[in-house]
């Protein structure tokens, strides 16, 4: 029978609060989010923003406390003092809200009014549900709260119960929706007449008003000292909603905090404000450099293996084994680069036919037929530096059939999986599930630890790469408002940008000369046009591009002047290393696009 998929989308959006808590792997950012202040959670899709917001709620925290997970992760955190209200959203909701103005016959004013009413109703329903959790049903408090809300909102024929208020709000929205769908403007206007003005005033009018009433009637032992409204998927919300909530970050309301989610780029309205640092906390949820997410990925993988294969001791190292391509530093075994090691064989083989590499070794007084580091310094400064490129050139430039069977597949191994997941919990869980399904194939119950063969890992990672590319291809490029009239004429797409950039970086690796220090990222000039900026923003939001800051906490405030790389998930398609290399100007990177056709876009 059709039912909720178990391993489906790994998307916290529709998990219950309790289920979110059951699978939560703590991260430092959660502690920052718990502070009594406005917060903006920045990160691409799937990086865990929804999970963190939902974890703030009473239901999730109660479930966490009872689950024993705190002990397992040896983590405890003080519960936030505020009562968090999670206000749900999803892609469909955002698209439909945003498309309201396109309804035939509907004026701009009416469509925005409809949007506001629906957004307010959504928030209020969440607040009412949270209130029911606080007080339970049928209490005198419920009656008092309901009576006040009914008066405030002029609800006719509504009983003094939160359930009936919710039902009335639901009917109101359904009526409006019905008129919208058939384009009956006159009936829509009539319906609006009975909606309280606070529902279509400022975004926060109705929610804060409701919170004030609820707080007033709650007995002191139940009354939260403050509240937090957690708005999800704000980056794809209608412009007025984004603007009002972002502006509200500057408010000094100590009773109601805002916890907002956003794409990896700080919202434009916030960037230039000198008070920004004091108004809110920007919390970053992505990783610029390959080493950054490793410990989180390890925790998440361990947790997954424990849940998926109970009773079997499995470690990430055993499940994946080492990645020759992506392991760095201490992750490499001591015998790496010595005679007989994989690295040694790679260097030797490459040097046998890659003249430029041979020359590079010779110039450094390294015997190409016996390429062994003479010192630790040489190993660190040269051998480790060139290893990824050497591996890739050997893999993809050698003659067909020359690939050694003894070498493991390139895009495989723990460090490669982690790198390609970008520390994104949803991506990583999806990959882990696919790997685990392979192991569980045949239906026989596992009795000993599973190792997923490198070839299988590489195949699945390649599939994930193709799939991600399909997502980019499926995602239309949204022109900035001021260029909306160009819609249909503009040629460029997110997909083409990624392909051109990938081709450029690919050429860096596979040129005639072995690159000691290839280009692997780009910087955006200060005079980049708005359309280019918009493309990069949208790719950032999808996760196709990653911002590279000067530190792991660095948050981009502008596209122009910033540095980016392609997501490592795309590495297999363009045969790129899993490492952040030096930057080149964006114009150089997009030269291929300009050469290809007379571009209007880039």
């Amino acid at each position: 029978m059709i039912s909720t998929p178990i391993y489906g989308a790994f998307n916290a959006r529709w998990l219950s609060f309790e289920d979110v808590a059951r699978t939560f792997v703590p991260v430092p950012q959660f502690l920052q989010l718990g502070h009594e202040s406005h917060s903006v959670l920045l990160g691409p899709r799937g990086c865990g923003k929804t999970t963190l917001l939902k974890m703030l709620t009473r239901q999730a925290l109660d479930s966490w406390d009872c689950s024993g997970r705190a002990e397992r992760f040896k983590t405890s955190f003080t519960r936030p003092r505020y009562e968090a209200i999670y206000i749900s959203s999803d892609v469909r909701w955002s698209y439909e809200l945003t498309s309201l103005p396109e309804t035939a016959g509907l004026s701009a004013g009416l469509s925005v009014q409809a949007q506001r009413i629906m957004v307010s109703s959504n928030a209020l329903l969440s607040i009412l549900e949270a209130t029911q959790c606080i007080i339970g049903a049928g209490s005198g408090t419920e009656v008092a709260i309901s009576a006040s809300l009914i008066t405030q909102w002029r609800l006719v024929g509504t009983l003094k119960s939160i359930a009936d208020i919710k039902a009335t709000l639901g009917r109101m929205v359904a009526e409006i929706r019905g008129h919208l769908n058939v384009g009956d403007v006159s009936k829509l206007k009539c319906a609006f007449d009975s909606v309280p003005p606070s529902f279509y005033g400022h975004t926060l009018d109705a929610p804060t008003g409701a919170i004030a009433i609820i707080s007033e009637h709650l007995p002191s032992e139940l009354r939260p000292s403050s509240w937090a409204l957690c708005y999800d998927e704000l980056e794809i919300a209608p412009p007025w909603l984004r603007t009002e909530l972002l502006e509200a970050l500057r408010s000094a309301n100590q009773n109601v905090f805002l916890k907002l989610t956003w794409s990896p780029l700080l919202p434009s309205g916030l960037r230039t404000s000198p008070e920004s640092a004091a108004d809110f906390k920007a919390i970053r949820l992505w990783h610029s450099h390959v080493i950054d997410p490793r410990s989180f990925c390890d925790e998440l993988t361990r947790d997954f293996l424990r849940e998926r294969f109970p009773g079997i001791e499995m470690t990430p190292d055993g499940f994946f084994r080492r990645s020759v391509l992506a392991a760095e530093g201490d992750e490499e075994p001591p015998e790496s680069y010595q005679q007989g090691s994989t690295e040694y064989e790679v260097f030797k083989e490459l040097a046998s036919w890659d003249k430029s590499f041979r020359l590079l070794l010779s110039d450094r007084k390294i015997d190409p037929d016996n390429p062994v580091p003479k010192s630790l310094a040489e190993k660190d400064q040269f051998f480790r530096k060139v290893k990824p490129v050497a591996l890739l050139r050997l893999e993809f430039m050698a003659n067909k059939g020359a690939r050694s069977r003894k070498r493991p597949a390139i895009y495989a191994g723990k460090e490669a999986v982690y790198a390609m997941s970008e520390g994104n919990p949803r991506w990583l869980r999806g990959l882990l599930n696919d790997f685990a399904d392979l192991g569980a194939r045949g239906g026989s119950r596992l009795t000993e630890p599973l190792f997923v063969r490198y070839a299988d890992q590489a195949r699945l990672l390649n599939t994930a790469c193709q799939r991600f590319l399909a997502l980019i291809k499926a995602s239309p490029f949204k022109l900035p408002n001021q260029h909306a009239s160009m819609s249909g004429e503009q040629d460029g797409t997110l997909f083409e940008f990624v392909n051109v950039a990938g081709a450029y970086f690919n050429a860096q690796i596979y040129g005639r000369e072995f690159p000691l220090d290839p280009v692997g990222s780009f910087s955006v000039p200060g005079n980049a046009d708005q359309i280019t900026v918009a493309v990069i923003e949208q790719l950032l939001e999808l996760g196709g591009l990653v911002y590279i800051g000067s530190s792991p906490q660095d948050v981009p405030i502008a596209i122009r002047g910033s540095r980016f790389r392609l997501s490592f998930i795309l590495a297999p398609i363009h045969k790129l290393p899993l490492r952040t290399y030096r930057e080149a100007p964006l114009d150089d990177v997009l030269m291929g696009l300009h050469d290809k056709q007379q571009m209007k876009l880039f």
Binding site: M1, I2, S3, T4, P5, G8, A9, N11, R13, W14, R45, S88, S89, D90, V91, R92, W93, Y95, E96, S99, L100, E102, T103, A104, M118, S121, N122, L125, G170, V173, I176, R177, G178, L180, N181, V182, G183, T463, Q466, R467, F468, L469, A470, L471, I472, K473, A474, S475, P476, F477, G488, D491, T493, L494, F495, E496
Partner: protein
């Protein structure tokens, strides 16, 4: 008006007695197939309208199509392929002119229409208010099998169609019902973009041409595996009523716990079923996915006899 019956009839060249015919002139030669088959209608008032694409006016069979429609007495209205507003205006006006006709019969040939267009037709029927019922025949000419392209252009348009946005509050998760086509990875890309909790897949099997099925299965392999047997349905291409009933039943069953989005990437007939199902359940949203002007024009030739679907509206 509300859809009250749906059945499939046998297409016959002797179909007559229409009060209104709406068709489309594009670059495919199948665009004119139905019009040519039924030729001139009986003497008596029959309004013949052809919605002519504002784009690709010289491509493939377009000039010939225009000439044929003109010869058959069709009145042309130029409309943008992506726009529903223009079509809504034309069709609503034509329906209004039938106000005094008791139980009018209408033929709509969707063979070369975009989803936005035939969605606009369905929407116009839904918005119409009249005392007596009307009968609408939807005709669809299948295309000759063409192997799938190696590449398809990236999407330029993704999102709900006007009048079929659902507009439901996000209090329940989204379920995406996808009619599969054979553009590689297009379906999985949309699924990842929309990010539903549940994905249910439909594909035609038996298809109009048996060669379609392995291609559809191959390019959607990952998605089909992920959806699982419970969530994959086949429908008989040539039995429109069965396909419609199946889609309607599955959609209805899902609406209790999910907010349903329908999106058709395969045969246009399935797209029509989606609109008709959404006309019955207003919560359901219809999404379209398109490369817009960047779809590569191809002259799809007609194959077999057209499908004729009879709907009655009250």
């Amino acid at each position: 008006m509300k859809l009250c019956t749906f059945e499939q009839l046998q297409f016959s060249e002797s179909l007559k007695g229409y009060d209104l015919i709406v068709t489309a002139s594009g670059y495919e030669s199948r665009a004119r197939f139905v019009a040519e088959k039924i030729g001139h209608q009986e003497p008596g008032p029959c309004t013949r309208l052809v919605l002519s694409f504002a784009e690709h006016k010289k491509e493939c069979a377009r000039p010939e199509n225009d000439a044929v429609f003109e010869g058959l007495g069709y009145k042309s209205s130029l409309c943008q392929g992506r726009s529903d507003a223009e079509v809504t205006k034309v069709v609503a006006h034509a329906l209004e002119n039938l106000r005094d006709v008791p139980e009018p019969r209408i033929l709509v040939d969707i063979s070369s229409m975009t989803r936005a267009w035939y969605g606009a037709v369905v929407r116009s029927l839904m918005a119409l208010r009249r005392e007596s019922k009307l009968v609408v025949h939807f005709a669809y000419t299948s295309a000759e099998f063409v192997p799938p392209p190696d590449e398809y252009p990236p999407n330029r348009i993704v999102g709900p169609l006007a009048g079929f946005t659902g507009n439901t509050l996000p209090t329940k998760p989204t379920a995406l019902i996808l009619g599969l086509g054979y553009d590689k990875d297009r379906a999985i890309g949309l699924k990842d973009h929309l990010d539903p909790q549940l994905t249910v897949l439909f594909y035609a099997d038996p298809a109009i041409d048996s060669r379609y099925v392995p291609h559809v299965l191959s390019v959607n392999e990952g998605l089909i595996r992920e959806a699982g047997d419970d969530c994959v349905f086949t429908y008989p291409y040539e039995d429109g009523a069965a396909a419609f009933r199946l889609l309607e039943s599955v959609s209805n069953g899902l609406t209790r716990d999910w907010r349903v989005v329908l999106c058709s990437m395969g045969p246009k007939a399935f797209g029509l079923y989606c609109f008709l199902v959404a006309s019955l359940a207003r919560d359901i949203s219809i999404w379209r996915v398109s490369a817009d002007l960047h779809e590569v024009p191809y002259n799809h030739k007609p194959f077999g006899m057209p499908m004729l679907l009879q709907t009655k509206w009250k």
